[in-house]
Point group: C2
Chain length 479, copies 2
């Protein structure tokens, strides 16, 4: 599909940064009614956003203690962006008014467009006309918009008791699906994984994945990018933008609507034509994108890239900076545990992932035999058994990491000799040797407590051997 | 490997039920020292087990308020089973004493046998000799033993703050690995999934997977069996036992040590020779075992079979009892959501799983168009959108389930119109139409609260589309 605005937009205004760092926001269609989405949105915004907020609705003089305006033109001093949360048939006029008032960008939350059929589609054409004619940029319609943990822009119109907002972090997410954006945001908050920016652009009359990738590539707050794609708009532009971004930071993507029935569901959802999956796979590869196939894989990838660096780093350079060496895959893995069975599982899975479960050299084994109790099984994996101490883990990890690119530590918390010191020991060795360590800790409430402690110390924890090995595969460039 | 006792044991004493329902237990090697494993074990047992407990240790007169005996022979009135938690070199004598005192079975917790090398292996031969000569049955050595939620037998020597004990339930687990047994038990407790019995038999000098399968096949408390296998001892006997069991209840298995390195790790772990994976796959198939490939898959299977019945049931019979029809696969699936994106993902995954995302008949669509708001997308999946109500879900589920064997309901809790009533509505329809429903609810803390409510009402909840579809695949006999 060719779209009128695909290139035009790009020439007209490359920078969409104002959506994320505005000085002022107008909320068009704000309501006084507590339960209404537009009131929820206003309250979220008021809680976080430090700039000026201008509710717009001719019905009210004030809402939630903020002065309410009859129209955008009445706002003194101008506005950077507008959020439109009005019935679909009022969107066109509101957008024209916003453009006339010199507003740079609009987030159109309102639904009832292309996803509902022909007449909605015609209204989208009108919106495109306004975008092209006036230079105003549009996110949406039929979207959740933006949550930005740094600037406090928050147009996700779900109250905090149903949707927690993640803390500041290095991960940014671009999602065509609103429900996906909401689910992952809420999960990240619970998991304690920080988020920089998340954008759901819904029906995408204007701003889409490529604009956002261009912005995020240069965004210093964003260290990792995750994409949820139903269909991209302009394949060539997407590959270029993603490539530029992936050269600077990891870009992870999931493609949904892989099959005809799924693609049809996507069409009735955001009006997107999902296209042939094989073409997407090739494009992702060309763009240096790490493709994941499921929600849990995406979550694992978000976590591991937020906390650890790739395993294929070359030794520290003369500038003191370790450099990622894309010709290497960093696949030498060392497995350490106090539970033999989990060690066996991890070994199986590492082999299936294409990781190299290295044999420890005789020197290393002799060294460890002298330092560790006799009942330990010294190989790879090393099984420290239920009689393990915090210090045994330290000794074994230090020796094993000398010969490997990455370690998976399956710390089961049953053994009475294990204390919080285990966490600090592992952190210390990982930092000192500058190699990534992944923790595998299946278990219940006690394990969950310790998981928190591990992750506060920058060590990502996975609850199953499968997740842990997948995370190792991601860091080793093997997925 | 032929083992001396493989058939002999079976002839000698088919029934090992006394391990799970003893009237009295002797704890040989019990200690007064609070931190010692044998003291932890005694305390766990005292907390749960309703029968008589006899600590045995010549050093003490009493331990934790229980009279302590100098030896098993000194215990008046006899003892059903003994738990041995003494140094490995004291095991042989203690076992002889137990056998001489007429004790029927011993759980040997002590490690330091075959897993440590030649001399340990010779000690195991001595244990086998005692088993064969005296008719005493042995679980272990190098094992966690048994946790039984019904009788209160609990030899898992990890205190409750590090290892929660699950509630009573219909799932029983047989695990060669102790760490696996501990991890899954703790996870099940946190997840609120009940457990009947779990056995870890470690080095397996005598009682192994086949004896346990024979016991569990006839055990009324056990509705589902899960196996964690490194290596089976006697292939033919295993297939026979598993087959008899799988004809009565679902039997799920995971095989680890699939590759050479993993198999080597298994050998140093429990001394087991893991054998060729292909042979296991064929044996599992022959035995009617549902094979899963990972820890999370196994957890999903335990949950879904604990809460729902297979989807390939024939219509209710004349006796009022629905019968599982093994010639059918029950693969017609209906997907219902309030989040379009999750619906798209579920559709993709169902197709990849070989499930049939049926087209709704025109009649059904017309019916739904009249009853549901116009903004809903009526197909399969149905997207009820963020404006959904509890009642919309009820209407759509009822119509969709008429034409399908199973429903996946992706309930995202963002929409303000959803309340706890949603849970009761879904339960009511599922019960009335007697068809299984699986819930997919990704999200954070609010979602977790509602997950609890769903599961208290017998509806299994999965956090990702992948897990939900896998669960549907299990019920539909498609995995």
């Amino acid at each position: 599909m060719t779209r009128l605005n695909a290139c035009g937009m790009n020439d007209m205004s490359e920078n969409i940064g104002f959506f994320f760092n505005p000085d002022s926001i107008a909320v068009i269609g704000a309501s006084q009614a507590y339960g209404k989405l537009s009131n929820v949105l206003l309250r979220s915004l008021k809680k976080r956003f430090k700039g000026s907020i201008y509710p717009v609705n001719p019905k009210y003089n004030s809402i939630n203690g903020l002065k309410c305006y009859t129209g955008v033109k009445a706002i003194e001093g101008g506005v950077d962006i507008a959020v439109l949360i009005v019935p679909s048939n009022a969107v066109i006029q509101a957008l024209k008014d916003a453009a006339d008032a010199g507003i740079k960008g609009a987030i159109v939350i309102s639904a009832g467009f292309k996803e509902t059929g022909k007449s909605g589609s015609l209204m989208e054409d009108e919106i495109k006309g306004i975008v092209n004619g006036h230079g105003i940029r549009v996110i949406g319609p039929n979207c959740m918009g933006i949550y930005d943990s740094f600037s406090g822009v928050d147009t996700f119109f779900i109250p905090e008791e149903r949707l927690e907002r993640p803390e500041k972090g290095g991960l940014s997410i671009v999602s065509q699906s609103g429900s996906f954006a909401v689910s992952i945001m809420d999960t990240l908050a619970m998991e304690g994984i920080g988020l920089a920016r998340i954008v759901n652009y819904g029906n995408r009359v204007d701003v889409g994945e490529s604009d956002l990738l261009e912005f995020l590539a240069d965004d210093d707050n964003t260290k990792v990018v995750a994409l949820y794609i139903e269909a991209v708009q302009d394949g060539k532009r997407f590959v270029d933008a993603a490539k530029r971004c992936s050269e600077k930071k990891p870009v992870i993507a999931i493609k949904v609507g892989r099959h005809e029935a799924g693609a049809n569901a996507a069409k009735s959802h955001t009006g997107a034509i999902a296209g042939r999956y094989e073409i997407y796979r090739a494009a992702f590869k060309k763009a240096g994108i790490i493709e994941v196939s499921g929600y849990d894989e995406l979550l694992d990838a978000c976590k591991v890239f937020s906390m650890q660096r790739p395993a294929n780093l070359s030794p520290v350079s003369s500038t003191g900076q370790a450099l990622q060496d894309l010709s290497r895959d960093g696949k030498k893995v060392f497995i350490l545990t106090d539970g033999g069975g989990v060690g066996v599982s991890l070994t199986d899975l590492c082999i299936e992932m294409g990781l190299d479960v290295i044999a420890l050299p005789e020197d290393a084994k002799n060294n460890l035999s002298q330092k560790l109790p006799s009942f330990c099984s010294i190989a790879n994996p090393i099984d420290l058994t239920g009689s393990v101490t915090d210090n045994d883990y330290k000794i074994a990890l230090e020796e094993g990491l000398k010969y490997s690119d990455i370690a998976i530590v399956a710390a089961l918390w049953g053994p009475p000799g294990l204390t919080d010191k285990l966490v600090y020991n592992i952190k210390e060795v990982s930092k000192r040797l500058n190699k990534p360590v992944i923790i595998c800790s299946p278990g219940g409430r006690f394990t969950q407590e310790k998981k928190k402690l591990f992750e506060e110390n920058g060590l990502p924890v996975f609850a199953t051997p499968e997740d842990a090995v997948r995370a190792a595969g991601l860091l080793a460039n093997k997925l």
